[in-house]
Subunit: 374 residues, 2 copies
């Protein structure tokens, strides 16, 4: 189908389409010979993150509202039953068949060469998309060997795993029903996030136990999904996940939004207060450590003349996709440099280093004695 | 002199003056029958914070550039000798004679009724301004019993004290020379900030000792003032001051800029690294405590149905000025309520409570279970 026919399905005129391209609200990109269009600024009903292809539109993956108080949040959000799933710390992908290829799109609407390379390890996408060409499988890729995220679930101890959690249809922002979704996940053996089942807001005692169990194991949190489509999905995270978030990012505190840290401090205190844990010396020390120690190491590095870097390891099936990942980084203005690549068994094992210039430059200026106004 | 004659001294036309009033860049206000004009948005050379009166223009008090590395900062800032003074944690006032009254203006360009009431306790302003009607005495009011600032120097153990540090001339943004300034402070017995004397950048060892001494005593830091007018004033603070800043404000973390906290974390690490102190467990715990404990108490309060408040004690000479302080708070949209006032000896002792609604409302919404996007 032509792109204009595709966008006419969401009532976009040829004029609007052409204008959007001209003013760079929608940007064409290419992967393996397939042209796709990245929505980088809202155009009519297409929001940032959506992807337009000649096989249909993949809507943006919506942000999920957060609650800071589990009991009150659940009671306020749900009058009807809801499903509870584990929230996993990784990065979001939307997997869809475009022309004759299955591609994984990032939240930023790029095709991710790494994720796309590894799809074959996740589930039998050929048979799934042959029978369901209009569906989009949404999920999290998580594990210690991923190219983006410094955190990973405690039970993925090497490489990465895929955890599906949603199925959407092309040209629509709607999800298919949870029951149907679970059925498809099971039918096609698509690995999915841990399902805790169907709850009502009177099951709060049980939910508290679940979240406390996840916290003890080092997991991120829970997502609550309504059965009543007028109610909304909400998320809730463990105190441990707040601490880990701070620890993993504080080396680059300067280039993060400062709210990233203050929000997590507040969240952790809400968790402690609701779950009757104490704000004890151990927690205070751990928070101080999470916030300061990695940043201290960054300052020390820069003071010693070194650039701040982050080291990543990833595994690829196909050698040619390694180069594509670095092209992707280049497009996203990520300064990543290949250190080593080697075929070990089934996979190409790749090591690369990301240089974190924004943090480096600010710290270096301060260290060199430049004054600033704050 | 008429206001138009006054502003013509800074080359402002009648048209610009009238426009500025119309578009509220300059706002008229009144204190004790004296009309003054607050610059709230830059108009030509008059910046936010400047005050226009029929006795002349009081320029804004300029922000001072900060260095994070003492040695490198001093070496970069100064090729010529500079004076070193203590930086004091209080609030800034500009004291000037307008018509026949001596008034204290806040950084926000209001007449501060409290500070103005207490001027008589600071120095003999009658004789100073009789002989120097065009001068403006700039300084810090600091101490545990002030109506604005939660911190105070360790050596002001009750009430407040005034510490002059600059003298400016009306209708000019220039300071008078440091030597002349010190002479005037001494001649009129105007209490001023601790002067450490004249240094050059080769005296860095000595300066490090000074700052470490201040840190041990619980003082805020140092200000470095050039003798060469082409060089600029810079400031440098102790690690202890960073910790105290965080501790005193974190109960209201939500209504502060998040950078307030991340900047202080970075500053404290720079201090520790330069002065070869360790980032030890005690410091990590203290930082965690400073950031979390007061915020935890705020969340607990709101969870228990209480509003977050801050309690202040202040002393006044004249009873009628108490009411004026509350009128001032009302204008500044500060929700302050008088709790108690009583004449004890020379002073009216006043207690009031500030209710911190922005923090309260955000915490309350979260606690009640409302979801949000972040």
């Amino acid at each position: 189908m032509s792109i204009l026919e595709i966008v006419s399905k969401v009532n976009m005129t040829e004029e609007t389409w052409n204008e959007s391209l001209e003013c760079h609200s929608i940007i064409p990109d290419k992967f393996d010979g397939i042209t796709y269009y990245r929505v980088v600024k809202k155009v009519e009903q297409l929001k940032k993150g959506a992807v337009v292809t000649d096989s249909g539109i993949i809507y943006d993956f919506p942000r999920i509202a957060r609650i800071l108080h589990l009991e009150n949040g659940i009671k306020l959000a749900f009058n009807n039953p809801f499903y509870v799933e584990e929230k996993i710390d990784g990065y979001n992908v939307r997997i869809a068949k475009i022309q004759d290829q299955v591609l994984a799109f990032t939240r930023g609407s790029y095709v991710c060469p790494f994720s796309t390379d590894r799809l074959v390890d996740f589930f039998d996408s050929d048979s799934f998309f042959k029978e369901n060409p209009d569906l989009i499988v949404c999920g999290e890729i998580a594990g210690p060997e991923n190219p983006y995220n410094g955190e990973s679930p405690p039970y993925v101890t090497e490489d990465i795993s895929f955890f599906a959690f949603d199925i959407k249809t092309k040209n629509s922002d709607q999800q298919i029903s949870i029951e149907k979704r679970y059925k498809l996940f099971d039918e096609y053996q698509i690995p999915s996030v841990t399902r805790f089942g169907r709850y009502t807001s009177s099951d709060i005692k049980d939910l508290k136990k679940q979240i406390q169990g996840l916290d003890e194991k080092g997991c991120e949190g829970l997502v609550f999904k309504p059965t009543d489509p007028t109610e909304k999905t909400v998320k809730y995270v463990t105190v441990g996940s707040c601490l880990r978030d701070m620890k993993i990012t504080s080396s680059l505190m300067i280039e993060y939004q400062a709210e990233f840290f203050t929000h997590r401090m507040l969240r952790s205190l809400f968790y402690l207060l609701e779950h009757r844990s104490n704000l004890d010396d151990t927690f205070l020390k751990k928070t101080g450590e999470a916030l300061l120690q990695p940043l201290f190491e960054s300052v020390k590095k820069v003071a010693g003349g070194e650039v701040i870097t982050e080291r990543f390891k990833v595994r690829f099936n196909k050698e040619q996709n390694i180069k594509k990942l670095f092209e992707h980084f280049h497009k996203c203005k990520v300064d990543a440099n290949l250190i080593h690549q080697e075929k070990v068994g089934q996979y190409w094992h790749v090591e690369f280093v990301r240089r974190c210039f924004p943090s480096y430059e600010v710290i270096k200026k301060h260290w060199d004695g430049h004054s600033h106004f704050d």
